[in-house]
Symmetry: C2
Subunit: 321 residues, 2 copies
């Protein structure tokens, strides 16, 4: 039984996990989910990344959209707008709403987010153990230019969803991370893992935020097991989303090589780049990270499973060294 730990953001991570479960159906997979883009809306705690993983693996996801529920309706959102209660830019569907109601009610009753997530997963049966990176509140804020020539911080969701990353991100700050503790089970899962995977999630606001929780990066680096990542950048552009915008904020080029170097050889043992970036293999390996070029487009579950198999094979290769 292989024990695999995956650090996951939302859509990219969730889709990769579906491929991984097909590639390694016998594996015991623990997902450490990003909670940095959690947001409080209408008095409710919304955890977009955890929910995307849960819905995707549990069969409730809106497939085309990649987030939110299938067969969704928006009566609650319409009514909130009719009351003039915002924000109106966050697409909260009725079915999705219920998840946040259950979560918020359990949190108000005193349960930590990790226990709440476990309870929600009892319904969805995602086939992985889904852990929030932390039970403490961490909120990713993005520093942008304001009209007066100064800077102001906006919640990551406001930057991503409302502004559609349309203005330069000057800095990305996981507010609260420095005092946060990993959720129960996180460090134990890393210590017990046979390998650790970084799916093609956003290296700054998804995987980066998880690594910003004190103790997690160190535990991975010290685990003595292969750590293999998949590039979210193909041909100098993010496959999906707007990763390039937030990479610039941390001074990293939007290339497969630069992202690997950003993680660094102290953390990363293996790195998969897309076949169009085959030329990057040499520069990544020069940075001390074993690298292979394989097709990295998650066009369907089988193509994604093939990516997962390549990552598992690379982990074996790394281990054999």
């Amino acid at each position: 039984m292989r024990r695999i730990v995956v650090l996951s953001g939302g859509i990219g991570g969730a889709r990769f996990l579906r491929g991984l479960l097909r590639a390694a159906p016998e594996a015991e997979v623990t997902v450490i989910g990003n909670t940095g883009d959690d947001i409080h809306l209408f008095g409710l705690k919304v955890c977009p990344d955890l929910d995307t993983v849960m819905y995707t693996l549990g069969g409730g996801i809106h497939e085309e959209q990649g987030w939110g529920r299938a067969d969704e309706t928006f009566a609650v959102k319409e009514e909130l707008a009719a009351y003039g209660v915002g924000p109106d830019w966050f697409g909260l569907g009725d079915r999705d709403f219920a998840t946040h109601v259950v979560r918020s009610q359990m949190l108000a009753a005193g349960y930590p987010l990790s226990a709440v997530t476990e309870a929600l997963c009892r319904r969805w049966q995602p086939g992985v153990r889904l852990l929030p990176m932390s039970d403490d509140r961490i909120e990713t804020h993005v520093l942008i230019d304001d009209a007066d020539g100064g800077r102001r911080a906006v919640h990551f969701q406001e930057y991503w969803v409302r502004l559609r990353a349309g203005v330069p991100a000057r800095a990305v700050v996981p507010v609260g991370a420095e005092h946060a503790k990993p959720a129960p089970g996180v460090l134990e899962a890393v210590a017990d893992a046979d390998l650790v995977l970084f799916p093609p999630s956003n290296p700054v606001v998804s995987v980066g935020t998880i690594l910003a929780v004190p103790g997690i990066r160190e535990a991975i680096a010290d685990a003595g097991v292969p750590v293999v990542g998949l590039s979210p950048i193909i041909g100098d552009a993010p496959v999906r989303g707007m990763a390039d915008k937030v990479l610039a904020a941390v001074g990293v080029e939007a290339t497969a090589t630069a992202v690997a170097q950003h993680y660094g050889s102290g953390l990363l043992d293996g790195w998969l780049v897309d076949t169009v970036d085959a030329a990057a293999v040499e520069s990544v390996e020069r940075a001390g990270i074993r690298c292979r070029a394989v097709p990295l487009l998650m066009t369907d579950v089988e193509a994604t499973a093939e990516m997962a198999r390549a990552a598992l094979a690379l982990a074996e290769e790394v281990k054999a060294v």
Copy 2:
């Protein structure tokens, strides 16, 4: 400009108010709404009677049902059930849900229920000033027999909705009423009123609960203006709902006369009974309450307006004495 104060429960009160506004379009109507059947569900504060008044007068009510929203959907409720989160016996629709979300968010932010109700009414424009009877939490509980031969208290909504008043009510207790204060504006509205009306709402769990808030009954009795009620009992049965079940708990017969006597001549100056109860006029008047028999079925808005006109006429008669 006539200033009319109406003590209102849910469906019966709301429908009566619609007739009253047609009968007296120039009047300034203040509604003191029952909050004794408020309930906390899924972490949200639900105020069924206030909402029924607001939706009915604001054009959002489900007409046939008498409560809840028109064109309602139930995605949130279905999802909560899928999570195994109850109760499942309370019919909370998606549109209705949004009202409770807005209310709960404002309450959590520190606004009293009266301010929240005013804010919600800004959308609905009910054409009346709607005040909760109190900003303090009061919850009507019903004492029923338990399986062991003892008694247990259940929330009024559990008795009414889940149990459908199918077991005898041994007592009805407005928990918290004794320490509650009337909401801001309630006593002032009564003091300034030209007349006070009791619509054909439940005399125990609707009007009775409002009167249980210390100060309200006294203010009405002392206002020195006509107080006129309409019987919710026609031909020894409640027109709607299960008023007879809770009348028994307070030792009152389900007759138009007994309800009038229950309010008492110290409070009530005039009482309307239905034409089928014309024989009751004499016994009510013997109890010191002026009484008239008119059709009391709220079959449509015009029939209801006619009832309101009869109540206003009776108030004039009382005043002229």
